[in-house]
């Protein structure tokens, strides 16, 4: 039986992602947990997150999730970060007056700004709803998902990666946003696959069958 640890650091709604994994998982055992032994024992690890980065980072550090994440990434097992769970892997976020993050990827998390515009039209913040994702690399997690499919987003801060070759997907919302990154056994998404209907479920399914190699 395959197992996946969804790291629970007290932020946001883990029900959705757990249910979606169970739905596509064909018998996968989903552990919603912060217990380091369980995270270590799981075949796959998922770092979710919603809410403000300062609170998320505070809980991540308080509960030792930073260590669990570092260990899981180093172990080579498939690792998926979603939304704030993705942003937390970057070096630094502008949110809450500036918060240092875990630094597994080089780059920053920036505010969309109050004056966001596209071709003269004002854009609302948060970026909320279904936007197209262009797949900038081939990756096992994009399997059977058409390029430029729409995924569900809800965020006010976006990732600007420094390592362009690690960007796996991009979206345009007033600015170019790096909405997916990939390196070795790690894949991250700004959008919510668990809320992105057929294409999102396909991505989770791909994650559950991925061996962590590119």
């Amino acid at each position: 039986m395959s197992t996946i640890a969804v790291i629970d650091y007290g932020m946001g709604n883990l029900h959705s992602v757990a249910k979606a994994l169970e739905h596509v998982g064909d018998g996968v055992e989903v552990w919603v947990t912060a217990d380091p032994d369980k995270v270590r024992a799981a075949d796959r690890v998922l770092l979710p997150g919603v809410g403000a980065i300062r609170d998320c980072m505070a809980e991540i550090c308080r509960l030792g999730v930073d260590q669990e994440v570092a260990e899981a990434i180093a172990s080579g097992k498939p690792f998926l970060g979603i939304c704030v769970g993705y942003q937390a892997l970057m070096q630094h976020s502008e949110e809450n007056g500036g918060v240092d993050c875990l630094g597994h990827f080089e780059g920053r998390v920036n505010y969309f700004g109050d004056e966001l515009k596209e071709e003269g039209e004002r854009l609302k913040v948060p970026h909320m709803g279904w936007n197209q994702v262009s797949q900038t690399i081939d990756h096992p997690l994009w399997a059977d998902i058409p390029d430029n499919s729409r995924f569900y987003f809800v965020h006010s801060y976006y990732v600007k990666a420094q390592q362009a070759d690690l960007v796996a997907g991009r979206t345009r919302y007033g600015v170019d946003c790096d909405v997916a990154m990939a390196r070795d056994n790690v894949f991250t998404t700004q959008f919510h696959p668990e809320k992105s209907h057929t294409v999102g479920l396909q991505l989770l399914k791909n994650f559950l069958s991925w061996n962590g190699k590119v």
Partner: protein, 257 residues
């Protein structure tokens, strides 16, 4: 590449059944909420909103179970509203599987509740529902006021100012229902929709009064809404979600097909 306008079917749920009234009375049964939600999910709805119009405790418990059942079968965002008064209510609904909650009357009675909720759960899951009715006379400058209790009680609060205040307190989205229009199928009140959408920086969902697909188009283009909500045109199979999306796309609106 652009963000799609969202189409949101709304389910008014009472004691575990979908109902739909005309101007909040004359209720017709429209089925089991989970079945209805699954149908919309399969048709390509972008989100689902659930309004609990039950008054009893038993009805509330039924609602929590309904949300739980739905969340394990529907993988698009789910908003739950109706009777959300405390952070415990929010926690219960989020734990049951809701992605967002919609706060209505409780925000009017205690605006600080919106701040507390947004700080605790994040603005992304706090929708403030505004029921607005036009109070200006023909010839006067347009003015809309907030009503509570299903549109029965005026509050004297200006709708546009109120929306701005709610966003300042942390609302991540505004669900705007025009009370004159709700259930009568003459289209959204485009004036108030546009006024509020232009006044705030967060997404605005237009609601109340959809009778045909042009109303959805008008809500997006003239009303400048970021999402359009409708109930009866979908429940009673007058139009399907794909028909609505195709119609909107043909008129130049970005949709998710």
């Amino acid at each position: 590449m652009a963000l799609a306008k969202r189409i949101i079917p709304c389910l008014d749920v009472e004691n575990g059944r979908v109902v739909k009234g005309v101007q909040f009375v004359d209720i017709r049964d429209a089925g089991d909420p989970v079945e209805v939600a699954k149908r919309y999910d399969e048709q390509g709805a972008d989100e689902i909103t659930f309004l609990d119009i039950t008054a009893t405790h038993e009805g509330r418990d039924t609602m929590v179970h309904t949300v739980e059942r739905m969340a394990s079968q529907v993988f698009i965002p789910l908003t739950v509203g109706g009777g959300i008064r405390t952070c415990d209510d929010i926690r219960t609904m989020l734990n049951a599987g809701a992605d967002k909650v919609s706060i209505n009357s409780a925000a009017v009675f205690n605006p600080e509740f919106v701040r507390e909720a947004a700080e605790r759960f994040g603005s992304q899951c706090i929708v403030v529902a505004i029921d607005a009715k036009k109070v200006s006379q023909p010839g006067e400058t347009d003015k809309w006021e907030i009503f509570t209790h299903g549109g029965r009680k005026p509050t004297g609060i200006d709708a546009v100012e109120w929306a701005k205040k709610m966003v300042d307190l942390g609302a991540g989205e505004i669900l705007l229902t025009s009370m004159d229009q709700d259930g009568v199928k003459n289209g959204y009140d485009l004036g108030v929709t546009r006024a509020i959408s232009e006044a705030v920086n967060v997404p605005v969902i237009a609601s109340g009064g959809v009778g045909n697909l042009d109303h959805l188009v008008d809500g997006c283009i003239e009303g400048k809404a970021d999402a359009v909500l409708a109930a009866s045109i979908f429940h009673f199979n007058e139009y399907s979600i794909p028909e609505a999306k195709k119609y909107m796309q043909e008129r130049g609106i970005e949709v998710r097909l």
